[in-house]
Amino acid sequence: MTIYLGIDLGSTTSKAIMIDEHGKIIGRGITNTRSDYNVAADIARMDAEFDSRFSLLRRRVASDSGNLEKWNSIFNQLESRFHYLQFAKRFEILSQAMFAHAKELEESKKDLTQKFCDVFPSIRNSVRDRFFNGEVSSSSEFFRDLFSAAFMQAIDQYDRATFDRLVAVYDRSINPVENQLVEFDFLELTSQAVRLLPEELAESRDQITRHLKEIGSVSLEPADYIGTGYGRQLLPFEKKHIKSEILCHALGAHDYFPNTRTVLDIGGQDTKAIQVDEHGLVTSFQMNDRCAAGCGRYLGYIADEMSISVSELGPMAMKADRETNICSTCTVFAGAELREHLNLGERKENVLAGLHLAIVQRAFALLARSGGARNEFTFTGGVARNQAVVKYVSGMARSNYGNLTINLHPDSIFMGALGAAIFCLQRK
């Protein structure tokens, strides 16, 4: 099997896709982008490799014994445990760093370290339960998110001053830890994960273990690779291994939806409106490069302002009975407008709906600059996972440009990485 690797280093998330010589996706990896872009790219690549091995393993085991549906369920449990074990190893490293930083604060070290000793087991257990219950989305909840959410909840019991000191230690520790690459041994970790499967799956465990060694040793060294995205120039790749994200997103979207003629990609801090021809070749594009008000960061800022997670924004906005009119075209001022509306007694769902609509209006202004939406219209990017954004994009696309076919795909966040991998395949 020949492997081609595409890496999309976005401003918020880094994605990797592995495809085979037929262009079939065999693995996906995603992580949060961090200040060390190389680490982010390596983690995404490593996760794509693990995901590829699980795909191969799943196919092998299922082809042996049939009943793919049963195996899908078992593998979901297996992969959840695998990801939990990855979490646990990173958790160890972070907790050591937090103990070390706490000790540097001489006058309070005892007090702080004791509190960490008190809360760390519950954090680990609560996250483990979430993994084991299949409640963690590996494509949108990363180590940092999982730990910080559980940590904040666990230390909420303390007084404000203690809470702040504990958070300060976390803040000091998380970035250095996030910027170091933690290596994992697939065989070893999967073997451990297999042992964590429920007892009633004992027979299945044996079947998996029988194939594990072989799949673990399959070479997944890419024959070619391409890096793209916002941070592509910072990757330690030769020039020929770097491609523009415009072309990669277009190619990725065109691969999934060959009739695509317009791609709207709303990412973390850039929005791209791309026109493509029947071959997936870009004919023109527009992107924002002065203001991020129509992008994912806007949502991140609003989530921070409202002290909720980004993933809660869309569902909350979907409960609105109307959209509050948000006039600000600037993220920061929109935050002020949000507070003003809430102070005046407006429902937060309505304000959120208005904010989502505002983002989409900004994105559509860019789309209009690029030539508008043509049939078929494909919406991609991390923000395409937000159902309220999807609702307004679909509505506005149809009301502005007629009865278009609007393409959405659960893999929309991976379009850039997929396009990069396809570039490799095309030039083989």
Partner: protein, 429 residues
């Protein structure tokens, strides 16, 4: 590294030095000074009255290239010009407020007359309104040029301009200079203009060769220097274009590409057409973003901003005033959008271009308004890639190297992708 100097460049440099020297000496020579604008200018008429022209937008672009515009713009903003006002205007006003020291570090004389030949740029009118306050003693002549809304020059428009020349402009020139118009001198100027225009068109059309011997944008802005400013109609101007044409022919014969600040482009990889003025504050950086990719401009609309000769117009001694009227009417910014698209498509076809670049200028509505519609039209009709970038004329705050580079990287990869696709397609046939 400095740009390799050819004889034509040295000649132009000397012409400019002589002109600014003459401007600095008007108090002793008694020559009168006419401030006017480049698009559709009346240089032959000004020269026939033995006046010296000053082009404020040329001073602004020179200030931009000499890294002085930031300071001049700040000066203008300090006295109340907003951030959104055209940066040419602010740069010029700022320069005047700081003593009107021109591009050669010599003081420019105050105008004896402000000639507003209004061709497609609304800002010109407001610009001269402000200059009138700065120079209350200057005579003012207004020449209204009707926009080519229907895409053609109507005889009535020519007559309308001729009438203005006869009743407004020439009488004021006569008043300022104390001289009567000498028809023979004007006709001679017109003949020399036509000779220079023939040569310039030869130079521009040389871009049809592969490799193109010229860069019709970054080199082109130097080539249009004499003809669009103070020298059209002069013998020196004709000689400059004779020299330039000789150099271009030499490059064609030797299959040499254009000369850049880093020497002759080793390989012409992409042939491009460009719409919009260049950025002046980072001119060489901006140029390098193209030539380092092997991109050569084979057609440029900006180099038609003074006047369009591509469809056969030449200044004519037969009916000089009608000819001047047609020249004013035909300049690029006075043409409607379909005409501008037609010119761009002519460049694309004539020179077999791979792509179009639009440099949208924050300051310049005359150019920028409608560019997105033009882009869509050309993209749909020609199916060639279009790259859209945004800079400014002389305000360095609006030149973002990384943003431009990011967009251009994508654009060049679009061109490359297309070439690779064509090669793959050819291989499978």
């Amino acid at each position: 590294m400095s740009v390799q100097k050819e004889n034509s460049m040295l000649k132009q440099k000397q012409m400019l030095a002589d002109h600014f020297m003459a401007l600095s000496q008007v108090q002793t020579t008694g020559k009168k000074v006419c401030y006017t604008f480049v698009p559709g200018n009346l240089t032959e008429l000004i020269t026939a009255f033995d006046m010296l022209p000053v082009y404020p937008e040329i001073n602004s672009l020179q200030s931009g290239m000499r890294q002085k515009s930031r300071d001049f713009i700040r000066e203008a903003e300090d006295v109340g010009y907003s951030e959104d006002v055209c940066s040419y205007v602010k740069c010029d006003i700022g320069m005047m407020l700081q003593g009107n020291i021109g591009p050669t570090d010599q003081q420019l004389p105050s105008p004896d007359i402000l000639l507003l030949s209004y061709t497609g740029c609304f800002v010109f009118m407001k610009w001269f309104e402000n200059l009138r306050h700065l120079y209350p003693k200057a005579e003012i002549a207004m020449l209204h040029i009707p926009y080519q809304a229907d895409g053609k020059i109507e005889p009535s428009a020519v007559q309308y301009i001729k009438d203005q020349l006869l009743t407004e402009v020439i009488p004021k020139f006569e008043k300022v200079t104390g001289k009567k118009l000498n028809d023979t001198v004007l006709a001679d100027c017109m003949s020399r203009s036509a000779a220079a225009e023939d040569l310039l068109i030869n130079v521009f059309e040389s871009a049809k060769h592969r490799p193109s011997p010229i860069d019709a944008y970054f080199g082109g802005v130097y080539y249009i220097g004499p003809i669009f400013t103070s020298f059209r109609g002069s013998q020196a101007c004709v000689e400059y274009y004779e020299e330039l044409w000789k150099e271009v022919q030499h490059r064609v014969a030797n299959k040499l590409g254009p000369i850049t600040p880093d020497g002759v482009i080793p390989e012409e990889k992409y042939r491009l057409v460009v719409e919009g003025p260049p950025n002046w504050t980072n001119f060489r950086d901006f140029w390098k973003l193209f030539y380092e990719h092997g991109a050569v401009f084979v057609g440029s609309t900006y180099t038609r901003v003074g006047g369009v000769y591509d469809y056969g117009f030449r200044h004519s001694p037969e009916d000089p005033l009608a000819s001047l009227a047609e020249y004013c009417l035909g300049c690029y910014t006075n043409r409607n959008l379909p005409q501008r698209i037609e010119l761009i498509e002519k460049f694309i076809d004539d020179c077999d271009a791979d792509g179009l670049v639009i440099n949208s200028i924050k300051s310049c509505n005359s150019f920028s308004a409608g560019q997105l519609a033009m882009m869509r039209d050309i993209e749909e009709r020609r199916g060639i890639p279009v790259g859209f970038i945004e800079t400014d004329l002389v305000d360095p705050r609006y030149y973002s190297y990384s943003n431009i580079k990011n967009r251009l990287d994508s654009f060049f990869q679009m061109l490359e992708q297309r070439k690779e696709f064509s090669a793959r397609k050819a291989a499978t046939v």
